[in-house]
Symmetry: D2
Subunit: 434 residues, 4 copies
């Protein structure tokens, strides 16, 4: 997966939502930026440098890149004669915006030690100070500018999640198994039985309806015809996944896509990522260190290939993204899987007899069977800021929902996350359909 | 692309088409088998051994593998105490059927010189003889058996096309530029102007309607909702593509998908495959050797990435597969691009003022913007023979139509071809939509 | 090992040997050229195309390249207005001579099917006819020309050996295990006990003494000081090597060079090349097909790493090339290991009590512990023809002796063969020193 | 190159040198350990984590590994019931000692952030404290123990040099070009003209004579016969090397070994490592940042391939290691190239008319034409501590002398450094012979 900045749409839908309140945006700015810094509190400078694989980035880089966004797309565009904090940062902390210039090669981000954390702190302070001045001057805040800042804050929230997924990946490779956060609350064991909600065939509307923030690729709202379908009430659990493993799931080529089977063989996969054996036991590495596996928790850190093979083994399938979106249009309940616990997901409340699925957000991102492509009529926004989502509409699959490390305010039912089918280091799990 | 046998569906739709006539199948068997052999007439034994890349196979292998299909799925299942022609051939000429046993590694097929062509001829003769006996005995021909034989013949037709795409690829790497077939008829230069046909929004049925042969993944027939759209009346020509090149299409990252841009850089792409420079001229390698480029012919041997970038450059897009299928439901006309000319495509007849697109088949396979996945409710057929199409529903795109080297009787408007987006060695081109 | 043409030196030493007799060279030319063709008699055209790995070449290529040598360095230089047989062959069949022009990429030689064998036969006949005319005209045969022809013949003899080593490698990958030559005489089991010959310390002369043919890197003759040493009377046998295997030789990192241990692990080595298991038995693939392993035959197809590890395990070491050369200065006896049997090695005659080692040639090439570098004062010959041996004086080790597939007239005690330490597909074995 | 601990020999030669004074070793211990720490003073914690390539290691790792040596081979062997500082460090900081246990994969050292620098400081303090207690108790200091400690100190000195070569490599990849040490003294421009010293042919002794410290592979002292030769009085300068570049040295395949030419092409080499263009100027990255190139300084950061090609271009050759050793047997003068300047090399004093070469040490390591193999009779020492030098006697070349970043007390004329011929990140240069 190559990723990490999804840029918001400036559509007429959004425009119709009316001008935002500068006061509001100022408080949000402070909250989001402080939340990022808080996330890094448990890390020492050495931790912030390492990069475990090309898909992941060092913490240093996340901290600087989100700041670069505000400097490049807000300050440099707004402040007269803006003088960059450091001339090299334009190159170093650009992720993918070709229109803005060249980028430092992504896989080599872990070779850089400078600017050091102290320098990056200074960079953030400097940009925050300038931003505060700007945000304090209501007259300078055009609607367009507010919208760009809003994009930058959503962008930073995405990187908050990535800071955690990436450091988890790096720590997991250290034989010492470092602990990010000692005492995570244990998740409440799932008590929801595996039931199904059913939906009739019909012509449905999906996509962002306007009236709030959304990324470009959530638009335009459009119609899809769906056959009748059923959706599981909750994600697949570790216990259920262990049955698949015990039944030889990882040894049976018949269950796998051809590329999936290659991934199993070449990667030596025999369990979800971060599971390992300790004598006869299976344990997993988590942000709070080594933990035994709770059979009632949602299975996590599986690839699309594994999700797809599991579903086939169960005689089911994965949901299409349209099915998922329709099913969750009115659901507000969130998960109770709290490895991270970091963003306080609202606990799911089981309502027996309810037709609605539970635990739709806040546990794990859920793989859908939909390849990631543009909606009919999709247009990427003009300019450098639009140079993102559309670029990746090839060889990736859509995930829906949100995980225990996704900021709660970043979750919405039209949100389209996407990764390559072999990706496992995100907090990704499985919901069944049939 | 990893591929080459797409196995037909035994659905109730097919069943409802009623039993086939044994006489009919016998003649078809002879015709198809002889056509394969005729295709190899211009090749010397040395040609039949080489493999230019892992995606391609030696001619030897195509000849043996198509025969293996009849031996394994027809003779061994039907003839009492059937004794295999050679015990090792089961292993050597299995392509992908894990249920039938292990396979010789695909990328190493070019290391094998034995069985030599004389042995493979003997193998074909032996199997043909046994098949003739079987086909002559009406009482032994159950409906199921006829259907399996029919699959085998469609399967062999696919490999006929592959024999040509693969040998073209191998020959193109030889500095001597060997000629497969000296005097191909020159294609009639396209005279159709680039016009558009338009289609209203609505709920459409697509997929195979039954009543004839179809592969599993053309089923089930189902509804899709489409917005209104326009489709170009003919494929993009070399001349139009050269404008894209002249405008810096291969140097402008903004036009490309992220993975496409990587392919351009790492592969050093600056033109379609098989185009090369001769002084200031651009010429191309064809099955009849080096030829100058006709600006009126459809552009060919482009990847999905190139098709997508070209469409973006033109301010258009590629068609969805449903759009393509609906537009061609009643079109019978074929192409006039005859590099191969090998399968006598029916010439397109331009009917001015007609709402229907022209040149829909018989020129080039046309990339669609649809990732290759199963239709809603898709089920792969049971058993080893079903172990194919469903395995590749990941990271491939659908192509529609058929090319100048596709057997005419193999072309139909519900046909779903699929390749990885970087593939260029098939006869693949571009039709625009908007 | 990057291989296969070692070009002879035109030194004053050689000159002092006096002019060669044209009659003599004419007969030798016919003999060598016919021997090459005879070697290919058991091969079908398909066999002559395949290339099993970058280090090996197709038979087609060997046949054409040796002919190209005479065309390029003799005919084109001597015959007025010489018209090349085919203009592309200069490029296609050049192996390494940068001075003569570009080369077709070595690893892709197996992708070429043309010129086909019939074309190459015609090429050989054409060049042979021209050469015959030249050799028949004594007046045109300058000393220099005779010497170049002589080089070409030695060069062709090297390729005779390579034709066999390369086809053996390719055949070994075919599950059918094709047979090159059905009935090879079984080798007489070794009866020589493992004894030692000892040599006193002293200042010795090594290198070619002049008076016969020698390659550039066998010169100049020079002095080396050697401590006293002992050399085993015969090569290590399969039986002795199996003791090493049984003692866990392939699992004990302490025995191996660091790079050797990597080769063992990454290559999955557990035995010499071409050995495989058949139930509980170990058998090997030979040019006459599958054979059981004779414990008395010299172990063959081992890399330098394996030879070195074996010697360490036995508490011995490999000989230095100077030690080997001094020990064999007066030995004429040859081996009795006849897998090939193709070149009629003279059988070894054991002379008990003799101080001289036995079986020094004609069984297996013997790895020495000497990295391949130039002798003091070494100068590569000028011009394109000298562009060979000196280029490879890096990361290769010297082998001495000659194998059962080395033409007998090509063997001499000053001969320096060289390959990369990981190479196993040559007929290479082990002699111990201490 | 895989390397970095060369373990000293416990030969009778060394023994004959008599027991060392405990007082002496105690002071040396303090000096060496403090010097290591001083070297790291300019680095921030982030710098100590990064690894630029598999051949290099993070500073963290050097600091811990050298400490691990004393803990494993001294404290754990000597102190009763020694309790390791941290159980995982045995695994994490073992470099190559298979006998002591498994190692963390070398190329992944840069993925570890923990133990952090503070932990490693604590580790060093702990081990130093224990060592001080041990060194203070004369009665516990056996001769063997003193010798092991001495090895550990030489080992640490090697890593001092590597700390600098590795951080230079990593910094050079950072577009910011971080400065290790701001104000390095500029080197005094070379004033020595390129003259030659000549040596007569003869039988010479080389190798360590005993009576001081030496690594295992410097033994045994032995005789070699050398032809007469000449050695340049000083290393090749940047100015001379630029002539080679200007003459198309990097474009002329005739000058290069076959593997060297591949390295030039695949690596895109056009100048020594760390040279880059700034407009029309060539500048280089140094430990004090970007610097213009002084034509009088010794050329540095060239591979064996470049050294060999340069020598060929000049009609000369590289010296054999025996030639180098004989020539320097009585030379004490050191270099004046002071990029590092870190270890205060004694300045060279030109003595006109002197037969001895100048600037033999303290500028750059000098590539010799000698592949790295064991001397006749070489035996690696027994036990884990001997598991080093002998493992690498394959595909490496010997360098002699010592560079501006080699601790002065670590330099001696029998010292054998060795690297793969493609290595460029060491301070390696060229001296000519003929």
């Amino acid at each position: 997966m190559i990723f990490n900045c999804r840029i918001a749409e400036k559509t007429s839908d959004l425009k119709s939502a009316g001008p935002r309140k500068p006061k509001n945006i100022r408080g949000t700015y402070e909250n989001v930026r402080q939340a990022t810094r808080r996330l890094c509190a448990p890390l020492c400078p050495e931790d912030c440098v390492i990069q475990s694989m090309p898909d992941a980035s060092p913490t240093r880089w996340h901290l600087a890149h989100t700041t670069w966004f505000f400097e490049t797309f807000v300050l440099a565009e707004t402040v007269d004669n803006y003088k960059p904090f450091h001339p090299d940062y334009y190159y170093l902390f650009n992720s993918y915006y070709n229109a803005v210039g060249a980028q430092f090669p992504r896989p080599d981000r872990g070779v850089l030690s400078r600017p050091a954390m102290a320098d990056i702190d200074a960079y953030r302070l400097h940009v925050d100070q300038m931003m505060r001045e700007l945000l304090g001057s209501t007259s300078r805040l055009s609607d367009d500018l507010v919208r760009t800042i809003e994009i930058g804050l959503h962008h930073e929230q995405q990187h908050q999640e990535l800071i955690l997924t990436d450091i988890k990946n790096a720590f997991s490779l250290n034989p010492i198994l470092p602990v990010y956060c000692k005492r995570l609350p244990m998740s409440k064991s799932a008590t929801i039985s595996m039931g199904w909600c059913d939906y009739p065939e019909g012509l449905y509307w999906i996509g962002h309806a306007g009236g709030g923030f959304g990324y470009d690729h959530e638009f335009p709202r459009h119609r899809v015809f769906l056959e009748s379908f059923e959706l599981a009430k909750r994600p697949v659990t570790n216990g259920e996944y262990m049955e698949f493993m015990a039944d030889g799931g990882y040894e049976n080529s018949q269950l796998w896509l051809s590329e999936g089977w290659q991934a199993v063989r070449s990667g030596g996969w025999t369990a979800p990522l971060y599971w390992f054996r300790e004598g006869d036991d299976r344990v997993s590495y988590t942000l709070s260190g080594r933990r035994s596996i709770d059979p009632n928790e949602p299975v996590c850190h599986v690839s699309y290939f594994e999700a797809d093979a599991f579903a086939r083994w169960r005689g089911c399938r994965l949901p299409r993204e349209a099915e998922w979106e329709i099913a969750t249009a009115d659901v507000k309940a969130c998960g109770n899987f709290v490895e991270g616990g970091l963003f306080h997901p609202v606990s799911a409340v089981e309502r027996p007899g309810d037709r609605m699925p539970q635990q739709m957000y806040g546990d794990v991102w859920e793989w859908t069977s939909s390849p990631y492509i543009g909606y009919p009529g999709y247009q990427p926004p003009p300019g450098a800021i639009g140079e993102y989502n559309g670029k990746f509409m090839c060889n990736q699959f859509v995930l829906r929902g949100g995980s225990c490390v996704t900021p709660a305010s970043h979750i919405r039912h039209t949100y389209r996350n996407f990764f390559q089918p072999s990706a496992r280091w995100q907090f990704s799990g499985i919901r069944l359909a049939r």
